[in-house]
């Protein structure tokens, strides 16, 4: 087990460095950060001096070395645009994104699983067919469009819900939450549904397929033959076995939800990390871009690592030294 862990950890570090390298080499295609840091009247000499101070004139490998060695100790430098340490910025924005992603993930599970079960049990009912039809919309329409449609329907036409922002937030220590105020909760509804929609339909379809498969197995037939109540068969026996692959997917999808949040956050002006990232791209705020990409890849790598370890625990058939292929 120990050697497995070490091996996995080393692999994770290689992945992180590779991501850093690719991200870093892409930054030079984003544009010149200096233009966004000074006004149009600023002279060439001043621009050059600023460039020199920021180390932008150093060769690529020097810049990369500085970045990696600082990042390794958690120092991502100072944002070009906000002029404050990037780690402070991210800490300030993280609660908004985490709250949105977690609520979305919960929504997609709480709504997606029952819908999946329902459509599996009542395969050809009218409601099932409508669910399936709707799920196609959820999977095929881009998040951006869904967000704008929601805004116009619920914000402009019906005027039930706010069109943008987080509403009033309450600070608990360094964490800010919108869940404790009415306006904060109202603000959360549209973005979280927008963000949840894709995962929701994915989970629903996954549960349905797994459930249909399980319902055909011998032990379900046997359970029925024993005269167990329909509910006991469906939920006590079938659902339990359906959920094992579903849980794996949910874990992996949580990372995706956070990454997908970029688009939802932009549409709803949600002050989270995704919004920060988009603005940083526009303003060529390299330290923020780099930190965000590193953080997202760290989350993905972390979740994968966790899943690997869990698998090794759950399924003793997987040999620990190299035989395991998953994730």
């Amino acid at each position: 087990m120990f050697s497995f862990l070490v091996k996995r950890l080393l692999q994770s570090i290689v992945v992180l460095i590779a991501v850093a390298l690719i991200a870093f080499s892409l930054f030079k295609f984003v544009g010149d950060p200096i233009n966004n840091m000074v006004g149009q009247d600023t002279t060439l000499d001043e621009r050059e001096a600023l460039r020199e101070r920021l180390g932008l004139n150093d060769p690529f490998h020097i810049q990369f070395y500085h970045f990696i060695s600082n990042a390794a100790v958690g120092d991502f430098g100072i944002s070009y645009r906000h002029k404050v340490p990037v780690s402070d910025l991210i800490a300030e924005r993280a609660p908004a994104t985490l709250e949105l992603s977690i609520i979305s993930a919960l929504l997609s599970v709480i709504i997606g699983i029952p819908m999946g079960v329902y459509t599996a049990i009542h395969r050809s009912g009218f409601i099932s067919r409508s669910f399936m039809g709707l799920s196609l919309v959820g999977i095929s329409l881009p998040t951006f469009l869904i967000g704008i449609l929601f805004i116009f329907l619920f914000g402009v036409i019906l005027r039930w819900l706010p069109t943008f922002g987080r509403g009033e937030v309450v600070a608990i220590g360094w964490w800010t939450t919108g869940l404790l105020t009415w306006s904060g909760i109202k603000s959360l509804i549209l973005p979280s549904i927008t963000l949840a929609l894709f995962q929701m339909t994915l989970i629903m379809r996954l549960v349905r397929t797994e459930m249909l498969e399980v319902l055909c197995t011998d032990y379900i037939k046997f359970a029925r033959a024993r005269g167990l109540k329909e509910n006991a068969v469906n939920f006590g026996h079938a659902l339990k076995n359906t959920l094992i692959p579903v849980i794996t997917i949910i874990g992996l999808q949580l990372g995706l939800v956070m990454a997908f949040a970029i688009i939802t956050e932009t549409v709803f002006q949600w002050p989270g990390m995704g919004m920060l990232f988009i603005q940083s791209i526009e303003e060529v705020d390299v330290p923020v871009m780099a930190a965000y990409l590193m953080m997202i890849s760290l989350i993905f790598v972390g979740i994968n690592l966790l899943v690997d370890i869990l698998y090794a625990y759950v399924d003793p058939r997987l040999t620990i030294d190299g035989g395991a292929k998953h994730g």
Partner: protein, 532 residues
């Protein structure tokens, strides 16, 4: 920032936000597509940031709602010799924290504008020294005559020396020094009619009316909440739904939608920003053309042919929805030095263009690439495409290379050695004076004197250079205008640029409020009122 400090500040912000919502009175909620870069008054010389801060900070002079220079923190000024201007400072002015404004604050702010992190060094450097005569009189000494210094200094905001020093903000906030001088990024203490209650960058800035402002202003607004909203569709939706009272910019294609809604209007007017095409007139061979060994744009006939090939009215009608002002000058009517006699655009005459091209030896035309931003000016990319199709009619094949502004500016500006053959650019002189344009866009490129820094195609005419210098120091208005007119005539005859139009400003405003749309697109709270 330590954890403890962070807890304190965030909870302070939260309590302020909660507290502010309870207040009633006249509150205005507005949005722009981005946020002010910071609250540091010397941090960035850019229209939105400075306009935003002009409600909190003031300079010795100010711009009124028609962009005319009026007395601000100075009540009067007098040129006492070619190298000195004496300013009388306004008595009885208090900063938001209660400190009294005096000559030391001006001297401090000037020095601060020259510090490392400042982006106001150009304006600061107009002054060689400031001598304090008494608490309310200063003598500004300059190298040579600087008649434009008072108007340029409308944008050098005056800070409180004691407050700044007490908070470690003696120098402008600097990207390299961690937190050493970060206080001014999110805190402000000016003399303006509004003070900052709280600020969370990119999320929310709350203003309230200052109780001790020296001036009576027209506005009846007591509280202002600003939130940046990036997506134009979201901005428009928030205005229509009544969550916001004023948003800008509104895309020109959304005007119809706003007009059809009740309770909101799209307010449009001409911006003082002139959009134009520039041409490389200095290289012996164009970087992006099929003509080798010579530069067709050096030939006046070719430049004239291009000028007569552009149909400005069609651009106005089809792309700007009737809201642009076609122009023949490189400056807008609001800019000091504008003379309507010179503002007639080149006549649209494709036959003449073809004839000129034939005379110049390009009967079959030629190919050229135009660099164009796609997220900087109103419909910038579409303008380039339209220009390309107009050029095609006279035989010039213009390829459009449209890129986001960071890529575009990174390519065409001085730091990349003006890597362009033709380009679209927009310009508003920050000083609202023609000299800024003569110096930056129309003088020969000169690394020593920093002239012609944004003359990307290096149009170079010795007489215009001389006139630029004369305009810069001439104090007699009649003579000065004569120099300007002469320069404008040369520029026109030589087809230095292809001016297109002044682009429209586009604000969405609730009918409950009245606003003044200033031609530099700054939103001055002094002229906003709740009317219903």
């Amino acid at each position: 920032m330590s954890i403890m400090k962070k807890i304190l500040t965030t909870s302070a912000i939260a309590s302020i936000i909660l507290g502010a919502s309870a207040a009633s009175a006249n509150t205005l909620k507005f949005a722009f597509q981005g946020d002010a870069q910071s609250l540091d008054p010397h941090g960035l010389n850019e229209t939105f940031t400075l306009g935003f801060l002009s409600n909190v900070y003031e300079g010795l002079t100010m711009l009124d709602k028609d962009l005319k220079v009026i007395p601000g923190l100075a009540t009067s000024w007098e040129v006492t010799s070619p190298t000195s201007i004496v300013f009388k400072l306004r008595p009885g002015v208090k900063f938001h924290n209660g400190n009294t404004f005096n000559a030391d604050d001006v001297i401090f702010s000037w020095k601060r504008s020259l510090s490392e992190g400042s982006d106001q060094k150009v304006r600061g450097a107009m002054v060689k020294n400031i001598v304090k005569v008494d608490d309310l009189t200063i003598e500004v000494q300059t190298e040579g005559p600087q008649p434009l210094m008072p108007s340029e200094w409308a944008w050098i905001f005056i800070m409180d020396k004691e407050w700044s020093e007490a908070n470690g903000a003696g120098n402008a906030a600097n990207v390299k020094e961690e937190n050493a001088n970060g206080y001014t990024l999110n805190h402000a203490n000016g003399t303006g009619p509004f003070e900052i209650v709280s600020r969370q960058p990119d999320v929310k800035t709350v203003f309230k009316r200052s109780s001790n402002h020296w001036n009576t202003i027209d506005s009846n607004i007591t509280d202002i909440i600003f939130t940046p909203v990036k997506q134009a569709a979201t901005r428009t939706a928030a205005l229509i739904s009544g969550e916001l009272d004023m948003v800008y910019p509104i895309p020109v294609q959304d005007w119809k939608r706003l007009d059809s809604e009740t309770g909101v209007s799209a307010i449009r007017g001409p911006e003082a920003r002139t959009i134009f095409l520039g041409m490389d007139q200095s290289r012996d061979e164009l970087l992006y053309s099929n003509i080798k060994g010579k530069n067709p744009l050096k030939d006046l006939r070719v430049r004239k042919a291009m000028a007569h090939a552009l149909n400005l009215d069609l651009i106005k009608k089809k792309i700007m929805r009737g809201a642009s002002t076609p122009t023949g000058l490189m400056i807008a009517p609001q800019v000091n030095g504008f003379n309507a006699d010179y503002n007639t655009p080149y006549k649209y005459d494709p036959a003449l263009s073809k004839q000129l091209l034939t005379e110049a030896g390009y009967a079959d035309g030629f190919e050229i690439t135009i660099d164009c931003p796609n997220n900087r000016y109103v419909n910038d990319e579409k303008i380039c495409q339209a220009a390309a199709s107009m050029m095609a009619k006279v035989g010039i094949k213009m390829k459009v290379l449209a890129q986001p502004k960071s890529k575009y500016f990174g390519k065409v500006l001085a730091q990349n050695n003006y890597d362009t053959s033709m380009y679209l650019l927009g310009w508003t002189p920050g000083s609202m004076d023609v000299h800024n344009v003569l110096l930056g866009l129309l003088s020969c490129q000169n690394k020593e004197t920093k002239a012609g820094l944004f003359n990307l195609g290096n149009f170079c005419n010795q007489r215009v250079d001389e006139l630029q210098k004369m305009v810069g120091v001439e104090t007699d208005p009649g003579k000065r205008q004569a120099y300007i007119d002469e320069a404008m005539q040369i520029i026109k005859d030589q087809v230095a640029y292809l001016p297109l139009h002044q682009q429209p400003l586009s604000w969405g405003v609730s009918d409950k409020f009245s606003v003044n749309q200033r031609a530099d697109n700054a939103f001055d709270f002094r002229y906003v009122s709740k009317t219903q």
